[in-house]
């Protein structure tokens, strides 16, 4: 494993046989190895001291780079969403030479743009008891105690600076008549700390970052490469030193050197095929970095959003989210008896089951996302689901309309109602909406330390692509906050410290690692084009997605996960023998782009299942059927699982050749123990 001596965070692989984990002996057959206990534990490098002072002290302790020397450093930023655009713009402003890459035709289109609800910040403008500490506390607790306290505290601190920065850029946040910023409560929070721009907060924040980036492109400090996809990370002499890209218009494959590489490439939700992610969202950058030695942490922590428009048919290409705010006024119900095919308005009150209000009288329809989602699945599994295929529940506004009037509802949710009608052809003012949960966000991602650096020196990972701040469950309106905190306010400091201390020596494209990466990429492309099978890429993606959703989605069991782990290798084998990818490599070829991404999802899915099987507890977005309270709530096991699971690729790291037969090489588990000194363990209760 390519780990430099100054980063003792990951254990080099060893040929010695691994003993079963001493601290938690378990009988189930495992598909993983635990790294030997001596020195294998991951160190998050969080500074020590009072938590309120950590970031200030650390900022002082970190080394700086002289302004005149910054331009001697070339930094690659992959991805142009909130984290990537904020990082590229900020580093450009500081004087680094930055190259930024995105697969879309413009950096303004990254999927951050689709975030609707808002962004949290501990401004306490409402005088309602909020504080940095409370945002920190809520985030750790909401993450079900699987995040790193020091990171989360810093995130809460930086949240206030983010709002200032965005307002200065001209982000048109919602305002009161007095001209000051408006806030709302979001996702069941007891304080109003969410800033928003109608239902398009992500769009407006991204355009702010995009415009800052555009300014740097204009002055020449950032070179933008649109319609360009990263296909490999180049690790040379133990450090991340560049990437290999494919120009999506010409097909040209190129290597590029850098002093540091920043991945801000988003999450892996499209492993489920149907998700609220954009069609192009993919895990290729993080998966290939993983194949080159970067640890992938907690992949089983995936978030499901309870209020999405249900699947209409086999041709469904993606799922559309309806803002969570709808649950403030809508009531969720299904028919009380299975097989009730009457139209909703014909079902009398007595024959309806408002199951969330019944089971959770104090929170009712506002229970957290995971609870709302699991309950929807449960009633549909009982045969009480509504709409095509029976996978849907009603979200009914008739009571709210009777109470508040149609005008009030229109003012609050008009845009969302219009969107719903556009997609379904149904009028939600008259007929209850149909909703169903869908994959929305992935908390897992590449492992990073407090400096947002992976175990590979020089490889930094920001935003949804890393695992760091949300633990097992992300709170609403916190994704935008984390992306911007990482990009605007963390990476400019920690990158300088890395460059000033590691002093990466010059590296050229003639380095053997670049040659190896280029030939690996060419070989993969050639192989995909040569198969000439019978099934389309989308066909395989659909099959993969339905398997993973069924067996590793809203709830998981050892039995289901074992079944999934048995089926994935044969699906992958079939893919590599029977997929058809038309066209050539040296042209714009959307089938080829998709094929490369689906191939990576097929491998990532297996690690996702292994992680889910190994985590024998329920926490946050990871619900194991075997581990629940008598009331059916998630049952955490803090004695055995209060750690970050960082998975190491145990196969050859000198190659990214696909695994075309049999299971993945048995991955190696590295644990980072989590200590909770400020937020004490407690079990959630929403009864």
């Amino acid at each position: 494993m390519t780990v430099a001596p100054e980063v003792p965070s990951a254990k080099p692989p060893t040929a010695a046989p691994h003993a079963p984990p001493a601290e938690a002996p378990r009988e189930a057959p495992t598909r993983w190895r635990v790294a030997p206990a001596d020195g294998a534990a991951l160190d998050g490098h969080a500074p020590s001291g009072p938590i309120t002072e950590l970031w200030d002290r650390h900022r002082f302790d970190m080394k700086l780079i002289n302004p005149a020397n910054r331009r001697k450093n070339h930094v690659i930023v992959v991805g142009s969403g909130l984290a990537g655009a904020a990082a590229a713009a900020s580093l450009g402003e500081l004087g680094y030479r930055v190259s930024c890459f995105c697969y879309q035709d413009s950096p303004r289109r990254a999927h951050s743009i689709a975030a609707q609800g808002g962004i949290n910040a501990a401004k306490n403008y409402r005088n309602d008891g909020d504080s940095v500490y409370r945002l920190f506390y809520d985030t750790v607790k909401g993450g079900d105690y699987r995040s790193r306290e020091a990171n989360v505290y810093r995130l809460a601190q930086l949240s206030v600076d983010i709002i200032d920065q965005c307002v200065a850029q001209g982000v048109p946040f919602a305002r009161e008549y007095g001209g000051l910023l408006d806030n709302r409560s979001f996702g069941g929070a007891q304080v109003s700390r969410t800033f928003y721009a109608r239902g398009q907060t992500g769009q407006q924040l991204l355009l702010g970052a995009y415009q800052a980036l555009a300014r740097q492109i204009h002055v020449g400090s950032v070179t933008m490469y649109s319609r360009t996809e990263m296909l490999d990370l180049v690790v040379a002499d133990g450090a991340a030193r560049g990437i290999v890209t494919r120009d999506l218009v010409t097909g040209e494959v190129q290597s590029r050197t850098a002093d540091a590489v920043i991945l801000a490439t988003g999450g892996y939700g499209n492993v489920f095929h149907l998700s609220t992610n954009a069609k192009g969202c993919n895990a290729t950058a993080i998966w290939r970095a993983h194949r080159r030695g970067a640890l992938l942490a907690n992949p089983c922590f995936t978030q499901i959003h309870p209020t999405c428009i249900p699947v209409a048919g086999d041709y469904q290409s993606k799922l559309t989210l309806m803002s969570e705010s709808l649950r403030n006024d809508g009531r969720i119900w299904v028919p009380a008896k299975p097989g009730d095919t009457r139209s909703p308005n014909e079902i009398p009150e007595a024959d309806r089951d408002y199951y969330l209000e019944r089971k959770y009288p104090s929170f009712g329809n506002l229970v957290p996302r995971d609870i709302a989602s699991r309950n929807a699945k449960e009633v549909c599994d009982e045969g009480r689901g509504v709409g095509p295929g029976g996978r849907g529940v009603y979200l009914d506004f008739s009571d709210a309309i009777a109470r508040l009037g149609v005008e009030v509802i229109k003012e609050r949710y008009g845009n969302l109602f219009d969107m719903y009608e556009r997609i379904t052809g149904e009028n939600p003012y008259r007929v209850p909406m149909r909703i169903y949960p869908a994959i929305h966000y992935t908390m897992g991602g590449l492992w990073v330390d407090y400096n947002l650096m992976s175990n590979l020196p020089g490889l930094f990972v920001l935003g949804e692509a890393n695992f760091s701040d949300h633990g097992a469950n992300r709170l609403g309106a916190s994704a935008l906050m984390q992306g911007l905190a990482d990009g605007y306010f963390v990476i400019p400091y920690t990158l300088a410290n890395y460059l000033a201390t590691a002093k990466p020596p010059p590296v050229g494209l003639d380095h053997p690692s670049f040659k190896a990466s280029e030939s690996d990429v060419a070989a993969r492309t050639g192989r995909l084009l040569a198969i000439g099978g019978r099934r389309t890429v989308d066909d395989f993606h659909r099959e993969l997605g339905s398997l993973v959703w069924e067996l590793c989605g809203m709830s998981r069991s050892a039995e289901g996960l074992t079944k999934l782990l048995d089926q994935l290798p044969s699906l992958r084998e079939e893919f590599w023998t029977d997929v058809t990818v038309p066209g050539m490599g040296a042209e714009l070829n959307q089938s080829l782009e998709k094929a490369g991404r689906v191939a990576d999802f097929m491998e990532l899915a297996e690690l996702l299942a292994i992680d889910a099987l190994h985590r024998e507890e329920s926490c946050g977005g990871h619900f194991r059927e075997e581990f629940q309270t008598p009331e059916g709530e998630a049952l955490r096991d803090d004695d055995h699982f209060a750690y970050v699971a960082g998975w190491e690729w145990s196969g050859e790291k000198g190659s990214i050749e696909p695994v075309t037969s049999g299971p993945l090489p048995t991955p190696i588990l590295h644990k980072e123990a989590l200590r909770f000194e400020h937020v004490k363990f407690s079990q959630r209760s929403y009864k």
């Binding site: 879309q104 307002v167 305002r175 008549y177 721009a197 069609k279 400019p492 714009l588």
Partner: protein, 280 residues
Amino acid sequence: MSATSVTGLAGVQPAPPDSDSGPDEHLLDLTLHVWRQAGSGAEGEMVRYAAPGISTHMSFLEMLDVVNERLIKEGKDPIAFDHDCREGICGMCGLVINGVAHGPQAATTTCQLHMRHFTDGDIIYVEPWRAGPFPVIKDLIVDRGALDRIIEAGGFITAPTGSAAEANAAPVAKDDADLAFDNAACIGCGACVAACPNASAMLFTAAKISHLAALPQGQPEREHRTLAMVAAQDSLGFGGCTNIGECAAVCPKEIPMESIARMNRELLRASLKRGRSKRR
């Protein structure tokens, strides 16, 4: 083929406004005529495809997905088209459908247009954005980089990271904030350019100028921004506005023509003050 010559060939029916539970699913047999062009230098042509069995619940892009799956299985080259979020916000998709940018439904991007707005037997013409500054890359995909160049020229507020004042230090009247938002809603899809007989980008440019000029934070660079962005759009080959209004009619985010009038006022104002600025 001119973009407007095929308007009205298909019997486009808007959804009944008072429908309750929505129309039931039907299957449509359609005929598509799609612009195919191998590359930017190649000759293009309209190619006819039969598209039977299309569900009325599909989005327009899902219909193209289905057509492409069939083409691939027949060993043919699928139709290349841009798309990403498929929820009407990223601005990546955009097709001229029966002569109308983004198709028949108002305030709707191509990805949000659903097949229930078409009827069995329809003939549908599908073309890329057509404008000099948007060269075709392949089939229905065009290069809209010129829109990025306009923003790069000045469509921003210079606020380097870390330099911001406390957010509530500068109150913004709600009306101004709303005006800013209405214009900031632009998704940069380029439909306005595609619909304009002059291939003008003025609605796009005006939206950004209107957004930033409405806010106190945007004042210091107000004149420079207007001059720089207008100069950029002119130098990139976009035409001028002749008040036809096709742009606002097809805009999926309903940016109004009024924004162009505001931009013209901003331009006049900036031109009068230009002498004082040394900034390039």
